[in-house]
Symmetry: C2
Subunit: 221 residues, 2 copies
């Protein structure tokens, strides 16, 4: 029963995602969906990314959380346009569905943006199943989470166009095999670029920023 | 629409959970549901917990993952009876539903167990909504995940009977305010016991083991 219900929900979401894709094309904005476990450092990565992209690239952010506006508050400091979705009012949803993105993107306004980043709800399972009409997906994995996560949660890494391995400043204090983590990512998604960074120290940021700027440029021309 | 569907799925799950509760009562086994984000250290905490509880307490484990049997393989080394559920075959489910626990508990056999631990799928949202007929719930939060997680994912901390703050051996290398994290847990769930531990060094294990043994003894007499 659950699987049939899931199929219907996903089909409905796909129709909404197609509408979003048309809207984003019309608005000439590139949309990046950032996903990860809770606490992998999405918000800190975004804060540093925005600081280095703006004002050359005009960025807006839609932040998803079950509760609180903590992440939106942190991101607003960068000067980017930010709006928050709390899914608490929609039954505590564990992902951002396409219709929520539609409402938030229109509220935020996209005509003065080059790049719209969606910081999804912290969850390595469900958000991978929900297309939101984005142009690219990035998954963030922290070095504190263990090398085996790409094998245990393969769908998230399969749907991602790029992966970020974050918190590499902590490597000296952990029994974490970074090359094995990267190998596991490439096992489930051959050819996917993996950026090893520290959002805290900004080590390794250049290749990640370059990848993102290139993708935006390819769409916007 | 999604919320109505969710309600029906949860109602059906509740009926199955009631059946599990009756089965576990009949089998005279205490059931603990362990939940957390991916990579917070549930498996390592369990390995160390089992090594210190057995053979005085006879323990079995049901391990849930979307894919792989990595965690079950690690837990089997302790000598405990272990069985693995992979939800990949059920549409990549993000939680363990009560009917899956029923099938696995019967397969594992509970008549020679005092304590059955369910290591749930790494996810701080969905598993909190699914009663599996357990006697107690524990949530694990790692110090690398940030102090605000109890406020952002309150349901998980509200339904938990105890919380474990893990990886305290990493505190010297992090900007993490442990007292604030504990305060946030107690804000969403006043009176909940919080155990600050390192699964790696086994620091702080005694109060956690004592709590668990007391709860098992209370049920089994």
């Amino acid at each position: 029963m659950e699987i049939n219900i899931q199929k219907r929900v996903l089909e409905k979401n796909e129709t909404e995602a197609d509408k979003n894709r048309a809207f984003f094309k019309d608005q000439k904005v590139f949309v990046l969906n950032m996903m990860s476990s809770p606490g992998s450092g999405k918000t800190e990565t975004l804060c540093k990314t925005l600081a280095r992209l703006m004002p050359d690239v005009r960025v807006g952010v839609i932040v998803g959380d079950v509760c609180t506006t903590n992440d939106a508050d942190r991101l607003e400091i960068t000067g980017a346009k930010v709006t928050q979705i709390n899914t608490d009012q929609f039954g505590g949803d564990c992902h951002l569905a396409a219709h929520l993105i539609d409402a938030s993107a229109r509220e935020l306004g996209c005509d003065d943006l080059d790049l719209l980043i969606v910081e999804n709800i912290g969850n390595l399972v469900c958000p991978a199943e929900f297309d939101i009409g984005e142009d690219a997906r990035a998954v963030v994995l922290s070095v504190t989470e263990g090398e085996d996560k790409p094998l245990k949660y393969p769908l998230m890494f399969q749907v991602a166009d790029a992966a970020i391995l974050n918190k590499i400043d902590l490597l000296p204090y952990l029994d974490f095999d970074a090359p094995l983590a990267v190998e596991n990512m490439k096992t489930v998604h051959p050819g996917m670029p993996v950026f090893e960074i520290s959002a805290k120290t900004e080590e390794g940021f250049e290749p990640w920023l370059e990848w993102l700027k290139t993708r935006v440029r390819e769409k916007l021309g």
